[in-house]
Symmetry: C2
Subunit: 304 residues, 2 copies
């Protein structure tokens, strides 16, 4: 294969990596030009401004993330689970046929509510995470595993025989931001980054794992402050523990020897800590998973 | 006893009732002058403007709600549970001794997180609801029961032998508003009141009762819309069902033959519907519970 320009174009960030014919990442760039900042019709010009100099005759480009959504450059219809590298590679949306393409997201179905007519199943979706999940397993030399990608909308995915069997989205990061910025807790929580308080975090995780409803325990952040049971600097960590613990509460570890965490370091460490409270081992990977995933998909589509 | 001016002064609303010496409500008034709209020092003038003409020589005044908080007219320290009419009546904060008083709120303690050092218990608080709870039971001729007051911060209280033994706060109404107004769902949910869709509501309740995490099921509101599995007009009812179902999920009905719902009619009916899905009978009471509670407390403090 020739060189690859691997692009991760999400809602708020645009990142790219130049990968040589041997699969080695040679350079990386990052821009605050997520798709929410790009007007319809302006995708080609933003792309050229950011990566035009890398797109020589010997380079292909593969993009993943929200760039393939209805609000993106070109819609890449969701690929149904189970789906692995082959299914995803077969579903590329071609911006410039043979040269520039977008990786499709995945969809799956969850069981609908029991005993109530109408909703037989409820869909779930991801865009960009499929590339990270498959790339992470490739880097680890695995063809199965339980993978979590923490974030605004965390994803939990089960992979078997190299294909994502099913996954679930959790609005954990978004709930944290909503409660911090817009709820009654915004008056209680100190502004800015108060740092990480491991004890307050673990207390929050333990409460959530006990089955305490988040609707109730979140109010505790306020009363713990009112009654001065937790210092102001610890409240944010406690809330973070309540939320991450709630995300873990419903997960089943059956058959998973460990959890693979793919994401930014600080947040991934919190998940690793929360999992350790349940004696579940975890290993962490960073953005290299995205590049590995795009590289593997490219190899199926841009052979020599 | 003389006449009573009963006042329910909450965060966003100020309501008052003129109750005659026989306990009959003669007139009611309501103002958009909750304590959040009143500057420190202006409580007496707002009170006079709204109710001055009712405060003759033969009238006492008793107030409940956030007016007794630090941000209110005069702080009435919390009364610890268990607490009934006698404890609350003994804890009045006197604005005008012998003539105008504020009812204290209640506090209780919940078990802290298991297996983690530090937090032995977590406090919970209410202000105003204690009066409604005790008033509701008085109206029903009961001295025990399980009472819920749905709202921005719902309260569940267990009463035994005429005293509130314990209670729990759920930020259900606030979460609903946060998700509707500030989350990614705000793009999906139609603006304004879409009306009530009973089937979509019950589907939401059933999902929550199954133990589905709210962090996950809330994202379903988005995907159900994306995939056109629910009409736009039904989404808000579905989200309401997810939240009320989550509030009910953790409740234990042990020993409660029924639930007493005290609140506004439309919201109370939703709770009654959700409880019926669990075969839990419920009866409903409205604002008359507040007046009955204040009247009973007044009778202990303003005897002839």
């Amino acid at each position: 294969m020739k060189n690859l320009l691997a692009v991760d174009w999400g809602s708020s960030t645009l990142r790219g990596a130049r990968i040589d014919a041997g699969g080695k990442v040679r350079a990386q760039r990052s821009f605050e030009r997520g798709i929410l900042s790009v007007a319809p019709g302006e995708f080609p010009s933003v792309f050229d401004a950011c990566f035009g100099d890398w797109m020589d005759a010997d380079t292909f480009c593969l993009m993943s993330g929200m760039v393939g959504s209805k609000q993106g450059w070109l819609e890449a219809p969701y690929c149904s689970c189970p789906a692995g590298f082959d299914e995803v590679a077969a579903g590329l949306a071609w911006v410039d046929p043979g040269r520039v393409a977008i990786v499709p997201g995945l969809s799956c179905e969850h069981d609908g509510p029991p005993g109530v007519a109408g909703l037989q199943s409820i869909p779930d979706v991801m865009r960009g995470e499929e590339t990270q999940i498959l790339g992470a397993l490739q880097l680890l030399g695995l063809d199965q595993g339980l993978v979590v990608l923490p974030g605004t909308h965390s994803k939990w995915a089960r992979v078997k025989a190299g294909r994502v069997e099913s996954f679930s989205t959790f609005m954990t990061g978004e709930f944290f931001a909503l409660l911090r910025q817009h709820s009654i807790l915004s008056r209680t929580l100190p502004a800015g980054d108060a740092g990480f308080d491991a004890v307050a975090f673990e207390q929050g995780v333990a409460l959530a794992l006990r089955g305490e409803s988040l609707l109730h325990s979140a109010f505790g952040v306020r009363t713990l402050s009112l009654f001065e049971r937790l210092p102001a600097a610890a409240l944010s960590s406690h809330l973070s523990g309540l939320l991450i613990g709630e995300e873990l509460r419903g997960r089943s570890w059956q058959g998973a020897a460990e959890v693979i965490i793919v994401g930014a370091e600080a947040l991934s460490l919190r998940y690793q800590c929360a999992l350790a409270l349940q004696s579940v081992p975890a290993q962490r990977l960073g953005p290299e998973a995205t590049w590995a995933g795009l590289w593997a998909i490219a190899n199926r589509n841009f052979p020599d």
